[in-house]
C-alpha cells in the first residue's frame, strides 16, 4: 500500500518480484542495483540461505525523482519462491502496489510457474486484491539458456500458460545478462504509478 505524504509531497510505493524458486528474481534485482546507480538510494539487502536461495526477501530502495510534483520513492522486494517459504512470501507481498511475475523459461519448470502464479492469485485474494486489477508485468526469464542446449518453452506457450486471461505486458529476459530487466521494471513502474495516480488522485 503506497504511503502518500501530502505535506511533503512524497509517495512511497512497493514493487514485488514474484515467481517460482530459482527463476531469477534476485538476479533481476542485482542487475537493477548495478545498472540503475542513479536511481538507487541505498544498499541492496539480500537475506539468503547457504544454498544461495532467498530466505526472507531481497530489498532495494529506488528514488525516481519528481513526478507530477511529487517525490516518488520505490521499495523493490523479491519474495522467496520455494514452497516451504509460503508464509514469508505472503508477508512480503502485503501492501504491494505493483508486481513483476518472473517466470522460468525452462521446460522443466513449466508446472512451477503455473503453481506460483496461482499462489500469487490466492495471496492477493487473501489481501482483498484481484490479480486482474493489480499492476502486473510478466517476465519470461532465462531465454539465454536455449543457447546452452537446455529445452526452453516458446514465448507463445508461456503466454498461453500464464497470460492468456490476464493479458498483461510481457517481456523476454535474460536477467543474468541484464537483457529485458530494465524494460520489465520500467513497464511495471509505469503501470503502478498510473494506478496510484488514479487511486490517490495526485496531480501537479
Amino acid at each position: 500500500m503506497a504511503i502518500f505524504n501530502i505535506q511533503k509531497r512524497e509517495i512511497e510505493c512497493k514493487i514485488v518480484y514474484y515467481g517460482p524458486g530459482r527463476c531469477g528474481k534476485t538476479t533481476n534485482l542485482e542487475y537493477i542495483f548495478k545498472a540503475f546507480k542513479k536511481q538507487v538510494t541505498g544498499e541492496m539487502v539480500s537475506v539468503d540461505t547457504e544454498g544461495d536461495s532467498t530466505l526472507f526477501f531481497d530489498f532495494l530502495p529506488l528514488g525516481l525523482g519528481k513526478i507530477k510534483g511529487c517525490d516518488v520513492r520505490v521499495q523493490i522486494f523479491t519474495v522467496p519462491g520455494q514452497q516451504k517459504y509460503s508464509s514469508t512470501r505472503k508477508l512480503v507481498l502485503k501492501g504491494v502496489d505493483g508486481i513483476v511475475f518472473v517466470a522460468d523459461s525452462l521446460e522443466v519448470r513449466r508446472e512451477k510457474n503455473m503453481l506460483s502464479l496461482k499462489d500469487l492469485q490466492q495471496n492477493l485474494k487473501d489481501y482483498g486484491l484481484s490479480i486482474t486489477r493489480v499492476p502486473l508485468v510478466m517476465q519470461y526469464n532465462k531465454r539465454d539458456l536455449a543457447n546452452e542446449g537446455l529445452p526452453i518453452m516458446s514465448v507463445e506457450q508461456m503466454e498461453r500458460d500464464l497470460n492468456r486471461q490476464l493479458k498483461v505486458p510481457s517481456f523476454q529476459a535474460s536477467a543474468i545478462r541484464g537483457a529485458g530487466v530494465g524494460n520489465t521494471l520500467q513497464e511495471c513502474l509505469k503501470l503502478t504509478l498510473v494506478s496510484l495516480q488514479r487511486e490517490l488522485k495526485w496531480s501537479q
Binding site: 500500500m1 504511503i3 505524504n5 505535506q7 530459482r22 539487502v45 537475506v47 540461505t49 547457504e50 544454498g51 544461495d52 536461495s53 530466505l55 526472507f56 530489498f59 521499495q75 516451504k84 517459504y85 508464509s87 514469508t88 505472503k90 508477508l91 512480503v92 502485503k94 525452462l106 522443466v108 519448470r109 487473501d126 489481501y127 482483498g128 532465462k142 539458456l145 546452452e148 542446449g149 537446455l150
Partner: protein, 309 residues
C-alpha cells in the same frame, strides 16, 4: 542421435540444471542417463560410468536433504531483524510508543525471530496499555520454540515479580490454560497473590476467554445487507487488534461507509482475513470517532468487535 550422444546430452543437461541449483531436475536427468546406459549394451565401461553418475546423484541427494531439513524461518542477524521491523511493521503515526513497539515485536514473531520477539514482548509486559497482548504473544513465541512448561515458568516469573495486576494475571492464566487444554496438557496453574481461585466463570470472564481464541486478523471484508451501502462489499485493513476488537481507519471521503458503520450496527456478513485463512463471521461497531489531530485528521477511527468467527 546415437545412444552415446543421448547419454552425453542428458549428462550435460543434468550439469546445467545443477549449475542453476535445480537439484531435483538435475537428479532426474542423471537417473534418465543411468536407465539409458543400463538398457544398452553398446556403451563401453558401463559399470564405471554408472558408478560415477551415482556419486553425482549422492551429492545431489545430500544437497536436497539439507535443503529440505533447513528451517523455513531461521534466526537472522540483529541488523536484518531491525530491517524486518522497519520494512514490515505497519506505519502507525497515531499509536503510542508502546503500541508501536508491540507491533514491531509482532512483526519479528511473524518472521520467526522468536528469541528477540520474546525479549521485546517481555519488556512490554510492564506497560499497562499493552501488557496483556505482550504477555500473550510472548507465551505464544515461547511455546513455539520451547514447551508449555517454559511458558508456565515465564508466567510464574511475571506473577512473582508483581509486574502484572490481579486482573491481568487472571487473563493471562486463562489464556495459558486454554492453550494447555487444546494441547491436552493438564497442569493446574496457580494465580499467586489471588485470594480466591475462581471456580466459576463470570459472564465477563467467559467473554474474555473467548477473546483469547481470536487469531491475528490483517483485514476484513463487510457485505452490507441494509443501510446506505446495501449490496456493497468493502474491504478494510486492520490497523490494530486487541483481542476481539479490531481498529480500522476509514477515509473521510467515504461518507456513505462512515454512515453505514454507526455505533451499534451489527454486521452479519463479514470476512476476517488472517495470514493463514479467511474466516466468515459477524461483528458489531463499537466506536466511530472522528480523528481530530495528526496526519489522519478528519478520517474516522472505528472499533469493530468480533461477535462470531
Amino acid at each position: 542421435m546415437s545412444i552415446k550422444d543421448k547419454v552425453k546430452m542428458l549428462l550435460k543437461e543434468a550439469e546445467l540444471y545443477k549449475s542453476q541449483r535445480l537439484l531435483k531436475e538435475s537428479k532426474a536427468k542423471y537417473l534418465e542417463a543411468i536407465t539409458l546406459i543400463n538398457t544398452n549394451d553398446q556403451i563401453p565401461n558401463k559399470e564405471s560410468l554408472i558408478s560415477a553418475i551415482s556419486k553425482k546423484i549422492d551429492f545431489l541427494n545430500t544437497g536436497i536433504t539439507r535443503w529440505e531439513q533447513s528451517a523455513s524461518k531461521p534466526e537472522v542477524s540483529p541488523k536484518v531483524q531491525d530491517l524486518i521491523k522497519k520494512l514490515f511493521t505497519a506505519d502507525d503515526s497515531l499509536g503510542s510508543e508502546a503500541v508501536k513497539a508491540l507491533k514491531s515485536a509482532i512483526t519479528l514473531a511473524k518472521f520467526g525471530q522468536y528469541k528477540r520477539a520474546i525479549k521485546e514482548f517481555n519488556n512490554l509486559v510492564g506497560v499497562d496499555q499493552v501488557a496483556i497482548p505482550a504477555a500473550k504473544n510472548s507465551l505464544k513465541c515461547i511455546i513455539e520454540i520451547g514447551s508449555i512448561e517454559d511458558a508456565l515458568s515465564q508466567y510464574y516469573q511475571w506473577t512473582k515479580s508483581d509486574v502484572l495486576n490481579e486482573e491481568k494475571k487472571l487473563a493471562i492464566k486463562n489464556y495459558l490454560q486454554e492453550i494447555m487444554e487444546r494441547q491436552g496438557v493438564s497442569i493446574p496453574i496457580d494465580v499467586p497473590g489471588s485470594k480466591e481461585e475462581p471456580t466459576k466463570k463470570t459472564v465477563d470472564e467467559k467473554h474474555d476467554h473467548e477473546d483469547d481464541d481470536i487469531i491475528d486478523i490483517t483485514s476484513i471484508g463487510i457485505r452490507f445487507n441494509h443501510g446506505p451501502k446495501k449490496g456493497d462489499h468493502v474491504e478494510l485493513d486492520v490497523s490494530f487488534q486487541a483481542g476481539n476488537v479490531l481498529s480500522l481507519i476509514v477515509s473521510s471521503n467515504d461518507k456513505l461507509l462512515i454512515e453505514s458503520l454507526k455505533v451499534g450496527v451489527r454486521l452479519d456478513d463479514m470476512d476476517f482475513y488472517s495470514p493463514i485463512a479467511i474466516f466468515k463471521g459477524s461483528g458489531v461497531v463499537e466506536t466511530n470517532t472522528r480523528i481530530e489531530t495528526g496526519p489522519k485528521r478528519g478520517d474516522y477511527s472505528l472499533d469493530i468487535k468480533i461477535h462470531s468467527i
